[in-house]
Symmetry: D2
Subunit: 135 residues, 4 copies
């Protein structure tokens, strides 16, 4: 079973542009909102700060747009975490409106020591909290 969580959101007027639809870069706001809520609910930290010393920084972002969203649309954002290396976490996203898939994408983050601004291994405790074991 996929470890996917869902958050409901509304498309706002400021997410759109003069084409009448959500601006392509605007979908990353929905990704970020889901990521913040998920991180906070699962691991209790305030994204992007894990604690006083460690921060998460984004090293890649991607979105594919299938259908357009408009102001007032109620959307459901799905988020699935996965550990892809010792230092990198990937979050996959889906955005649906009434079950219809509008957008898919991902964000890859690494953990850094904010004082040295250097990548460090993801703390085991963080992995345990973010990724639920399946049995």
């Amino acid at each position: 079973m996929k470890d996917e969580f869902f958050f409901d959101e509304m498309v706002r007027i400021y997410d759109t542009d003069a084409q009448g639809i959500v601006h392509y870069a605007g979908y990353y706001r929905f990704f970020t909102d889901a990521l913040e809520q998920f991180s906070n609910a699962r691991a209790g930290y305030l994204f992007p700060a894990i604690n006083e010393k460690l921060w998460l920084v984004v090293v890649e972002s991607n979105a594919k747009y299938y259908k357009s969203a408009r102001a007032g649309d109620k959307i459901r954002v799905g988020i699935t975490p996965s550990i892809i290396s010792e230092k990198a976490i990937r979050f996959d996203f889906s955005i649906r409106r009434d079950g219809d898939l509008l957008c898919e994408g991902y964000i890859i983050q690494v953990v850094i020591d904010k004082n040295k601004w250097k990548a460090v291994p993801i703390p085991k405790e963080l992995i345990d909290k973010l990724i639920h074991k399946k049995s």
Copy 2:
């Protein structure tokens, strides 16, 4: 004579919303761009940091919208500085397209000691640079 300076700018697709015109909060981007260029040209600092110790923080913003701007519009942003108290600087802005006044507004900033996060008097040297004496 008014101490007004002008900067040219283009309205971008991301400044607009689904009404087809610039989103009301988007005009503050033009104010900020003019403020950064003006501060840098006049006083040589990288807004909003004056130096290692002092920062400028915004304490009020205002904009009145007369006519709508659209993506692709070439606009001219005027900026006029004035000292309104020992600790506060006001910048007045105008936005024109082909001479037509689209928007007017202002931003009030105070100087703070960023380590104490407390307002301090505006350094005389900064006033001298920002406000040209008329004689």
Copy 3:
């Protein structure tokens, strides 16, 4: 009694800038969110479109900043509507964190016929819905 309504919101990482606090223009996102929720709850329309023919457009915006908000802050946004002329509605906003007043401001909107792009009187029905009578 003041006709004030409240909406809870969270400050997001994208609302902040390199000063570590919410960017001054970012507070207008909170105003807009409150305005959308209020308009929808009270009058059932999807701001900024009242219906197929009528739109609300912003003619003035203002914000005063007293204290800084940071990413992760839980804020409460208050909104109070008032009719200030035949064609203009004013919405006053307050932003509080744990009761502490961080920001106050307002937005003035006029109703336009979107096909003619001309201001028209506010429909009586809209006033009745937005402004509750006190007795």
Copy 4:
């Protein structure tokens, strides 16, 4: 020889977030600016509208972040167009600061008939203008 064009830009305070660096989604502003300038210079249209009937819409966006940019940084954005199918154009981007590669990414766009909101083949005239023939 690569068909790459360059545009100079400055990182603004509103591009950054509380981590002190440019917010990951903020880099798409630089991509969009380069795309608008390039489209306008090469093909004379105001992105994202090609003409009264045809629009460009984004179907995929991607960015990889190698080093962080900060407010005040002077960056150079490179853009390279390529036709990847009958209906899709890809633009590759690079962002450098003093020659140092900070970010790479791409945007894929398709041409749509805006009245039918349907993808159509890219007009040959547009290809000829956007993509210079190498001989």
